[in-house]
Symmetry: C2
Subunit: 197 residues, 2 copies
DNA sequence: TTTGCTTTCCTAGGATCTCTAGGTTATATC
DNA sequence: GATATAACCTAGAGATCCTAGGAAAGCAAA
């Protein structure tokens, strides 16, 4: 019997494709096996469990998203970089809803696997790099990075969950949110604040 | 045989408790039934399916979160209200991680069920009310509401997913994020922007 | 070629899960 | 008490996850 040439990576990609097509929680070992023309038991030589597979999909997504962002922001700075960064993030989430959702699951990823996955760490570094132009110093820098990442993630997550019902198009709100964040970064409030009106 | 007194609401609450204890994706019909001292088939008189149950948990969470926020912001305004609003949101997510995660699933909730669940809509109204003090007019108001909700959700979601690795405590970043959002709302950038440096 | 090792993929099967069909029995109402 | 309406049950089909152990494909060396 000819071999299918399975590998952990190919199984992960098949799972990721399935997640994008039918939704992450419809990704089952059986379905992935079926897509690969293989029996479900065969997958367990490459992937420890369904949970492990989901973790791998999450890491794949993080890596891919990071690469997209790196490409989009290359050679840009300031507001240009901010917009390129944010748009690349959002576009990835739109194009790969299943993979993106995998990144939202509480951390249960095999540590040794995560170790040589550059995605998440590199993404944070990229964010730091982008913010250098705004002249922030630690710890404000870290706080700003976290604020940006929260907003980007929150926006696309709410968008995906149907949180922005009707009325105004999300695209408009997105553009304005980036305007606002840019303005905010240029006038980052000083640390010691009492109660100004 | 004595009856258990099941009802759609009690089933939902049992599912929500289970979600908080063991994680949303470990909530099964069998487990919920076991917790209620009942056979799994009995649940289907009250809840259409597992997916339906998850939808109900999501609505329950939205309602509960809204109530907490309403209580926390009552009688406050301006930055006080903003902080109370945000802290209530985040505390709910911390106290009820499973329920909160249920709200993140793509919308598949029974429309007629959602109709008389005041949670989501009321939450948006509360956000609008809180922002009145900042003197924003439409469509900036809607954009600001969406930005705030995105940031709040994104922050707690990243926090829950282990996104804020080490170093600086999330609590510090949270306080600073609220400072920043307050400053932003007080100086919301005008709509037509070219390329200022 | 032959021998042997390693890895890949398989069959078989236990445990658990979702959900349906249909039967009992508790409870409320007359 | 009689009766209707639920609530809850048993039984079972179909899928799922995952393990154990076997067959066979590919590779290396004699």
């Amino acid at each position: 019997m000819a071999r299918a040439g399975l590998t952990a990576e190919r199984v992960t990609i098949a799972g990721a494709e399935l997640a994008d097509e039918v939704g992450l929680d419809r990704v089952t070992m059986s379905q992935v096996a079926r897509r690969l023309g293989v029996k479900d038991a065969s997958l367990y030589s490459h992937v420890r469990s369904l949970e492990d597979l989901r973790g791998r999909i999450a890491l794949l997504a993080a890596d891919e998203k990071t690469i997209r962002i790196a490409e989009a922001t290359a050679g840009r700075s300031g507001k240009d970089a901010l917009i390129a960064f944010a748009d690349a993030w959002r576009e990835y989430a739109h194009q790969h809803p299943g993979r993106y959702m995998a990144t939202q699951t509480p951390i249960q990823i095999d540590p040794e696997l995560a170790a040589d996955a550059p995605g998440p760490r590199r993404a944070v570094e990229l964010t730091y790099g982008m913010l250098r132009a705004y002249g922030l110093a630690e710890p404000d820098l870290t706080d700003a990075v976290r604020l940006l990442r929260s907003t980007f993630h929150g926006f696309v997550a709410l968008e995906a969950a149907g949180g922005f019902a009707h009325a105004r198009s999300p695209q408009h709100s997105w553009v304005r949110a980036l305007d606002a964040l840019h303005a905010l970064l240029e006038h980052w409030p000083p640390s010691r604040e009492g109660d100004s009106s």
